[in-house]
Structures are given as C-alpha cells and as structure tokens.
C-alpha cells in the first residue's frame, strides 16, 4: 500500500492473506473468498489466513487458516506463457471455495457484494478503501496490514499514467469496462496487495457499510493510479458460481 498507514484487521475484517502467492483476497461469505485471477493462477490449492493483521508465522498461528476446496477462475481470464509480461488483465477475478466455514467475529467478517443498481457503479471521486501487506514506499514486504483511502478516477487517468518504462509499455496494456481506475494522490495499491478489496461505502446504508467495488488487479507504477477489477460486472458470474458450487450434487 502506498500512501497508506498501518491498519488493524478490525478495520478490514474481510482481508484474507494468500500465503503462497503473498497476495490478498476478500472474504465475501463464510465459505467464499473473492480474489484476482492472477493471484490464484497456477495455485490450485492456496493456503489462506483470515483474522490477523500480522502475517508473521507466529501471528498466523492464532489466525484462522482457510483451506481451499476449489479455485474457480473466471472463464474470461486468458492464461499467458509469461505471467510477468502480462498486459491484459481483463476478467482478473476468481473465487476460492473453502472447505470449512470461517467463524465470523470482530477480526473476520465478509464484505458485501455490490448491488446491481446503478449507484453501485463507483464514479469519479468516490473514495474507496484498500488494504494489504504489499509493497510500500519504503519496504518490499510488510508484516503488518496497511490501509489507504483512494479516490476513483476515470479510466483515461490509468491509460495516461506513465509506467516504469514508458516506451516499452506504450499501448501494450489493455483497459476495459471491467476495470476501475483509482488513485492518483499518492495512495495506491502495489505488489502484494493483489486480490484485495477496493471497498466502497454503500450509498444506501445509513451506517457505514462497505461493498467490494473492485479487486486490486494491476498498475503501471505504484503510487499513482491503480487498476481494479470492476466486481459489479461479475455479479452474475459470482452468484451463479457460488450457487452451482454449493449445490450438493455439484463437484
């Protein structure tokens, strides 16, 4: 997290730590974790933890260990031979079904899915919360959860954003309507934060209630604009996948 600060897990109780890929995910139900497809690509049996702000081994002993029952990557996600050279992150979304239900409490509870109404489509300027154990301005790896508030920006901002090597990247990245652009004021997600939720406050609730508007997907450079998977576009797939996978006859 760039431009953020240390956070408590109680601030982001939906935050899931993917140990094997050192990434994040969002708990959306007792048995489901939503994450980015590139987080679980090639990792059919990820090990996850919930309920801990610290990811040291000793801390994780007291966290809830989550065991994957199956990993379901969106069918629109296109595998590539060299993931580090990927430029197309369209449909960067995946579901992980858990073997056992997560026990909810102050440190572990799900984030809501967006509603299907128009107001659940974040517009420019809307603030969202991001969190993760990813890179910061100072460290490549942090052990304590960090969080930040980032505003939604137009996709053009992400298109125009400069990468580490502008010549090499020009025109190579694909931006679609399945993506949300956010950031721009120093607050940003970064490597290690992938799959984590871009949480936006529900406009229809009086008391603060957050839904997962996006998932940390990619960015040209940390600290400016980041691109998030637009979860609202995948509601049908999410619900269908969860429904079918929960069917006792489905395996």
């Amino acid at each position: 997290i760039f431009g953020g600060q240390a956070a408590e897990i109680q601030n982001f109780p939906w935050q899931v730590f993917f140990q094997s890929s050192r990434a994040g995910g969002a708990l959306i139900d007792e048995r489901w974790v939503l994450t980015a497809a590139h987080v679980v690509e090639g990792t059919p049996d990820p090990t996850m933890y919930a309920g801990s702000r610290c990811i040291r081994a000793r801390c994780l002993e007291s966290a809830q260990r989550l065991t994957a029952h199956r990993v379901l990557i969106h069918p629109g996600w296109r595998p590539v031979d060299n993931p580090s050279a990927r430029r197309n992150f369209d449909n960067d979304i995946a579901l992980v079904q858990l073997k056992d239900a997560v026990k909810m409490g102050p440190t572990a509870s799900p984030i809501c899915l967006p509603g299907s109404a128009a107001e659940y489509g974040p517009t420019e300027g809307d603030l969202g919360l991001i969190s993760g154990w990813g890179r910061t301005e100072e460290k490549d790896i942090v052990v304590r959860l960090r969080g930040a508030k980032v505003p939604v920006a137009t996709l053009e901002k992400c298109t125009e954003a400069q990468g580490e090597d502008p010549r090499a990247e020009a025109g190579a990245y694909v931006l679609t309507d399945n993506m949300i652009c956010a950031g721009g004021e120093g607050a940003d997600s970064c490597q290690g934060d992938s799959g984590g939720a871009f949480a936006v406050q529900d406009p229809n609730e009086g008391s603060p209630k957050f839904y997962v508007a996006g998932l940390v997907s990619w960015g040209k450079k940390c600290g400016s604009y980041g691109v998030y998977t637009n979860v609202k576009n995948y509601l049908d797939w999410i619900r269908k996948t969860m429904r079918e996978a929960s069917d006792p006859g489905h395996d």
């Binding site: 601030n11 909810m104 509870s109 984030i111 008391s207 957050f210």
Partner: protein, 422 residues
C-alpha cells in the same frame, strides 16, 4: 324255615283243650307271598270279647282277628268256618285258655297256605309311578315310551337334561310344553354365552304353570335359575311369581326344573338373550371419542383421537389416536393410554446462533433463536420465534419447521478505518 303250607291245631285236639294254657305259632311263608289262614274247626269257650279263651291272629303287630265260640261252615261245598288273608309273609297265631271251662271244648283246627300277593293292588301305597307288573312272589315297575325307570326301580322320569344353549337368543320350555310335563324328573339346561354377555331371562306370567307350593310354602315342582354365585327361585305356581325379567349378571346360567310324582301341569316357557356388558362412558382428557354414543357395550370399538397438540405414546412411538375396545369384563382396553401434550423435545441448535433454554418443550411452548450479533444476522424474515406445534415440531410462522439461518453480516468493520490526511 318258611313253608308254602301247614296245619296248626289247638292242644289235645280233637280232645278238649286243657285249662290255663297259652300257645303261639309263628307262621312264615316265603317272601313275596301272603298267608291264607283258614279254620276248618272252631270250638272255643265263648265269652264277651273272647276274654276267657281265644285264638288270636296277629300280623305285623296288628290284630287281624280274635276268635272264640263255635263256627260252622256256611257253604256245604266248603269246610272253612273262618279265614284270613294277609298280604304279608308272616303271621302269629296265639291260643289261650283260662283256668276253668264249664263245658268241654275241643279247640280249633286251621290250615295255612302261601298265596301270591298282588303288590300292585294289595297295598294302599302305589308301588310304581306308572305301570305295575305283578308276578308270583313279587312285582316290577315299567314306564311309558321315552321315559326311563329311575334307580329306585319304582319311579319313571324323562331324560330331559343336557341341552346346552350357546346362541345369543333362545327359547327353552319344559318337556311336552304346553302339555303336562313329566313327573319325577329333573331337567337341567345350560345356557353358556360368550364372556362379555349377561344372560337375561324373560318370562311371561301366562307361560308358567307349575304345581303350586304346599301349605308350608315348599314348591312340589320347581323351576330354579342358578349362576356361579346366586340363585333365582325356586319358582312354582299358576303363574310366574318372580320378576318377569331376570338379569343374572352372569354369562352362564343353569335352568333346573324338578318335578315330583304328583300333579303335572302345563309347565313353562322362557326366553333368554345375551345382553352385552356395558363399559363406562369415560371422559378422557384432551381427546374425542368416535363414534359418540350414549352407552357403550361389549365389543364396541371406539377411536380416541387426541386434540390438536396432544398425542398418545405407545412405547416411544407417538400417535394422534388409538383404539379402545369394550372388553368382556366391562373395562376398556388400552385404558392406560392417554393423550398427553406433544413434546417437541429439545430444539435443534443452529450454526452461529443459539436458542434460549425453554421452560418446557410441550405443545404451545415458545422458543427464540438468535444469531451471534453483530457478526451474524438472521437470514430469513419471520424472526426467531418458534412454537411447539401439534405435530411435535417447532414451527415458525414464516419458515415453518425450517431452522433459521444465521448469515454473516457483511461490510461492517468492527472498527472504522480512519485515513490520515496527507
């Protein structure tokens, strides 16, 4: 030794008999015969009531005759001057003279023979109840057709016992009814009904005519009803003296009709039927009887249905109804069964929620499920209130028997993230 005949004469006969003498002859002929004693000569001092001299004939302690004086035959064809016939086989003849005789008297000469006694006619008592057959030296009794001779060899009776009536309805009459019933008979009829039925006897007054009681009130001929533990009767008279309907309180009844030798009348005719024993109409709590009747009797079957919320437990199996049968002893079967409030049992636990400890779990009780707030909420509408229903299930107004589900509350951090402004 008994002899068939013999002769006796007074002392010194045909000379004058001596003074002051007394002599006795015990005459005996075989049993079954009588004695015919006849005098062919009689010449004894005459005195008033034969007080001086006499010949006295005794039979069985009874004086048959006492003779004195002179007798001559009244028939030239017969030498007999005096004769006695007794229907018994023993006779005692005693001759007696006093101290003086003014003249010479020669005494008596007499003969005796055994003669057949007609036992059928010679005695005042009738020896046979029906037919008497005399023979030399004895007699025997005989009976009309369909009668038999009793062991006493004198009386006839009819064989009228042994009938067993098992039908629920029936008519029993005395032999030959309405013609005169037989004498000297004992008729025993048995009514044997299935347990659970009471024998009820009905008699019309005019259907009864039995030889009335004697002056002391004892029935000569009688009709008696006997159960295991009580007796009705004896009854006799021109019309039935007892109650026209007799409820015996028993499923078995012996009808005994006894007659004596004399005076046979029309007899009697009775009807009987089996009255099923009633079972009490009990009021059992929390249930309905079907069919509803004012009176229940043996073999009636009722279906006892528990009211809603009640059940009957047979072992561990609950049911909403049971059957009860009126038994032969007047008691209901399954009488120990009763409709009890349905017990819904301990409510099932739910994930991520709890149920309050109910005061009881019987029909109508209410429980409440709650979820572990604030992290879970009850997914379905209808709240967590469940009521113990009549079918033994905890039922919610909306969910029915389905348990509530506690779903995680989403999107609410327990602590808000406060971002520091740069």
């Amino acid at each position: 030794e008994p002899t068939m005949y013999g002769k006796i004469v007074s002392p010194n006969y045909p000379q004058a008999y001596p003074n002051e003498i007394e002599k006795t002859w015990d005459i005996e002929v075989p049993e079954g015969f009588g004695v015919h004693l006849y005098f062919t000569h009689l010449d004894i001092e005459l005195s008033e009531d034969c007080a001086y001299d006499s010949v006295q004939i005794m039979s069985g302690g009874i004086e048959e005759g006492k003779l004195c004086g002179q007798r001559t035959s009244k028939s030239p064809q017969s030498p007999i001057v005096q004769e006695f016939k007794v229907p018994y086989n023993k006779l005692q003849v005693t001759f007696k003279s006093d101290f003086s005789n003014e003249e010479r008297f020669t005494g008596f000469a007499a003969y005796y023979t055994a003669v057949d006694v007609n036992e059928c006619t010679d005695f005042a008592d009738v020896p046979c109840s029906h037919f008497c057959n005399n023979f030399i030296g004895g007699y025997f009794c005989s009976c009309p057709p369909e009668y038999f001779l009793h062991d006493d060899m004198r009386n006839c009776g009819v064989n009228c016992s042994g009938d067993v009536f098992t039908a629920l309805f029936g008519v029993i009459a005395s032999p030959n009814y309405p013609n005169p019933y037989p004498e000297n008979s004992r008729c025993e009829y048995q009514i044997r009904l299935e347990e659970g039925f009471e024998v009820v006897v009905t008699m019309r007054r005019e259907d009864f005519d039995v030889e009335p009681a004697d002056s002391e009130g004892n029935c000569q001929d009688s009709l008696v009803f006997v159960t295991d533990n009580q007796q009705f009767g004896p009854y006799c008279g021109n019309e039935f003296p007892g109650p026209l309907t007799i409820e015996t309180k028993s499923n078995t009844l012996d009808v005994i009709f006894q007659t004596d030798l004399t005076e046979q009348r029309k007899g009697w005719k009775l009807r009987y039927h089996g009255d099923p024993i009633p079972c009490p109409k009990e009021i059992t709590a929390n249930s309905v009887w079907e069919p509803e009747k004012a009176k229940y009797v043996f073999k009636d079957v009722v279906k006892i249905t528990c009211l809603d919320g009640f059940e009957v437990l047979e072992g561990n199996v609950g049911s909403t109804f049971f059957y009860s049968t009126c038994q032969h002893n007047g008691k209901w079967s399954n009488s120990k069964l009763e409709c009890q409030p349905v017990d819904c049992g301990i409510p099932e636990p739910i994930q991520n929620g709890k149920v309050n400890d109910p005061e009881d779990t019987l029909f109508g009780s209410v429980i409440h499920y709650t979820c572990e707030e604030p992290y879970y909420y009850m997914e379905h509408e209808g709240g967590g209130e469940y009521r113990c229903s009549g079918n033994g299930s905890w039922v919610n107004d909306v969910l029915g028997t389905e348990l509530p589900k506690c779903a995680p509350v989403c999107g609410v951090p327990s602590e808000p993230f406060v971002g520091k402004q740069r």
